[in-house]
């Protein structure tokens, strides 16, 4: 990682007796795109609002570009922020909204007009300058909000669930657009979301938050494939969890229902008879025996959902059940509910989750 540009050090926040954020640390490099991911109430928005200056940390320090901003007011921090509900000023046109930050900074008219035109081009709404916010769709309003936040050239861009109010299609296209603009401008960005797919697809790094603390910090690849805690594993992506009982720790054998799987080197310190959770991503499981997959279990197909290019199959294994994805193949019909089936997977893909 490059040298830290935005740094959050030992930040805590409590409201009365309730601690909302505990000992939060993060260094964001210049131009980096970092997401805060977590369920509602996990403290992610509070951290963002502390960076913006709307909340004052109970302890700790926040600095941007080497300058300590912990006690600065929001209007002195030179940050851009985009809100979930757009928050465009209804009495101003699109162009006036974008020009707002420049106007209050006393930038001259010619320069302002030029910058507004640039911004309108950037968000691909060059003809919309004279419209009022109510005449725009949600997606367009949010793009204008982005342009408004970027116009004064802030040091940091804060995005507070900017896509949550939009419908699914717009959400995906705007997500890509935000990322493209962010890369293009090289602006340091923090993005708050509760949607793991969003976070995975857009971020350089993700902070998964739970109960006011950072559970894991890593690239999307690391977060998804090597979740550090059970919470992260469950929250990010679909996860199949099989309850098993340790048979022989030394040999790495675990009993799952009637079957047995061998997990070499993954049962460090486990005792015989201990129950374990074995977690597997749907894409790590195949239907039937496949070459290279060293573990298998027998079950019965309980659900088949045809999703287009992918068929999601649910297989019951006694008291457990797993979901797995197979690609649609026009030449062969999908599995049938009630059929006997065997699933296979590689033991190296199994995540062992201790409670």
């Amino acid at each position: 990682m490059a040298e830290s540009f935005l740094s959050i050090r030992n930040v805590k926040k409590s409201f009365g007796a309730a601690t909302v954020v505990q000992d939060f640390n993060l260094d964001v490099g210049r131009g980096e795109f970092v997401s805060f991911l977590g369920p509602s109430g996990c403290g992610k928005t509070t951290v963002l609002r502390m960076v913006a200056g709307f909340e004052e940390p109970s302890a700790g320090r926040i600095s941007i570009g080497g300058q300590d901003v912990t006690r600065l007011k929001p209007n002195q921090r030179n940050i851009g922020m985009v809100f979930q509900a757009y928050a465009l000023f209804p009495n101003l046109t699109v162009a006036q909204n974008i020009a707002f930050g420049l106007r209050v900074a006393g930038v001259g008219k010619a320069e302002t007009d030029k910058r507004v035109a640039e911004m309108l081009d950037l968000i691909k709404l060059p003809e919309y300058g004279s419209r009022y916010p109510y005449q725009l769709s949600g997606g367009q309003q949010q793009r204008v909000a982005l342009a408004r936040a970027l116009a004064p050239k802030p040091k940091v861009l804060l995005l507070d669930e900017p896509l949550s109010a939009l419908d699914a299609k717009v959400r995906v296209s705007l997500r890509d657009e935000i990322r493209a603009i962010q890369r293009n401008l090289g602006i340091t960005t923090i993005f708050v979301t509760h949607d793991q797919e969003e976070a995975l697809s857009i971020s350089d790094r993700i902070v998964v938050m739970y109960n006011g603390r950072a559970e894991q910090l890593g690239t999307p690849f690391e977060i998804y494939n090597r979740p550090a805690t059970k919470f992260v594993a469950n929250f990010v992506g679909t996860l199949n969890v099989l309850e098993g009982t340790v048979a022989d720790p030394a040999a790495g054998t675990v009993r799952v229902n009637d079957g047995e799987v061998v997990l070499k080197g993954k049962l460090n310190g486990a005792r015989p008879g201990e129950t374990l959770s074995l977690a597997l991503r749907p894409e790590a499981i195949s239907l039937g025996r496949q070459p290279g997959r060293d573990a298998s279990l027998g079950g019965r197909i309980s659900e088949v959902s045809f999703l287009g290019s992918v068929i999601r199959v649910k297989v019951g294994l006694g008291s457990n059940s797993v979901s797995l994805d197979t690609f649609n193949n026009p030449a062969s019909p999908p599995p049938v509910v009630g059929e006997q089936a065997e699933i296979s997977f590689s033991s190296v893909d199994v995540l062992v989750l201790h409670d």
């Binding site: 209007n75 009495n91 930050g101």
Partner: protein, 281 residues
């Protein structure tokens, strides 16, 4: 036969409005432009310009405007204090309840209350005199004057403003001020560029309503001053009771003048609204 049945549902309302609101008003308006023989004339309107009538209109407009503007400003300040001032919740609910009551506490009893307070024997007058200030002789105050009546009217104007403008202030989104702050705006800049322009139509609309409210009010003034204060509604009242102007058509013209003034205020408001309508949905 479907269409007439459709209209049957709203017919009672329209018949009622026509017979008891629109036709009686139209009757007076037409009468204002007729002479005794029923011919068209502008004489009655012209007669309104005689000094005593003009003076009545002038003082009525001044009192209504003063009580509307002061009421609106004071009401706005109170609404702002209870919505944004960080006061405890009970202050807000108590203020809203009281405003609901006070905005409907008008007419004769209100006059009694102010006589008991600021009349020559009123509590405040007496207390001030005990403190050495005679508000009548030293300060030139008189409850039967322009300022006396304005002060009395404020008792229902301020709460009416509070009742109407509080929801509008509630409608200012928190994110607007936060967005403005992140863009570098001071609180003052936020109010000047966003909050006040957004509230302005509701504010102005309420001022117009308060103006009409005061302009047509008669009971308070009549109970307070008898007929010693020469305002338009009292003049019209006297004309209806006893044709004091000795010309029934001049009475119509007087009524027409009242509708004209309140109507003009509303036309101004509508004109303003359509100007700012561009951003109002």
């Amino acid at each position: 036969m479907r269409l007439p049945l459709h209209w049957l549902g709203v017919a009672p309302f329209f018949i009622f409005a026509l017979m008891f609101l629109i036709l009686p008003t139209t009757y007076l308006v037409l009468g204002a432009f007729q002479n005794d023989q029923g011919g068209f004339t502008l004489d009655n309107i012209y007669a309104l310009t005689q000094p005593s009538i003009l003076a009545a209109y002038w003082i009525s407009i001044r009192i209504s405007l003063a009580s509307a503007l002061l009421g609106a400003l004071a009401g706005f300040a109170i609404a702002l204090a209870i919505v944004r001032g960080g006061l405890p919740n009970w202050v807000r609910s108590a203020t809203m309840t009281f405003s609901g009551v006070a905005s409907n506490f008008a007419g004769v009893p209100l006059a009694f209350a102010f006589l008991a307070t600021l009349g020559r024997l009123g509590l405040v007058t007496v207390l001030m005199r005990a403190l050495g200030v005679d508000i009548y002789n030293d300060l030139g105050f008189n409850i039967l004057s322009f300022w006396g009546l304005t002060l009395t009217y404020l008792y229902f104007q301020i709460p009416l403003m509070v009742v109407i403008i509080t929801p509008a202030i509630d409608g200012l989104k928190k994110e607007w001020s936060e967005a403005a702050a992140t863009l570098g705006a001071t609180n003052f800049q936020y109010w000047r560029m966003v909050a006040i322009p957004v509230l302005w139509p509701s504010f102005l609309g309420t001022v117009i309503l308060l103006f009409a409210n005061a302009f047509g009010a008669i009971a308070t003034a009549y109970a307070l001053t008898g007929s010693s204060l020469n305002i338009v509604p009292i003049l019209l009242y006297a004309q209806i009771r006893g044709d004091v102007l000795h010309n029934p058509h001049l009475g119509y013209a007087l009524a027409f003048g009242m509708i004209f003034v309140t109507g003009l205020a509303n036309v101004f408001y509508i004109w303003f609204r359509t100007r700012s309508e561009r951003w109002l949905k």
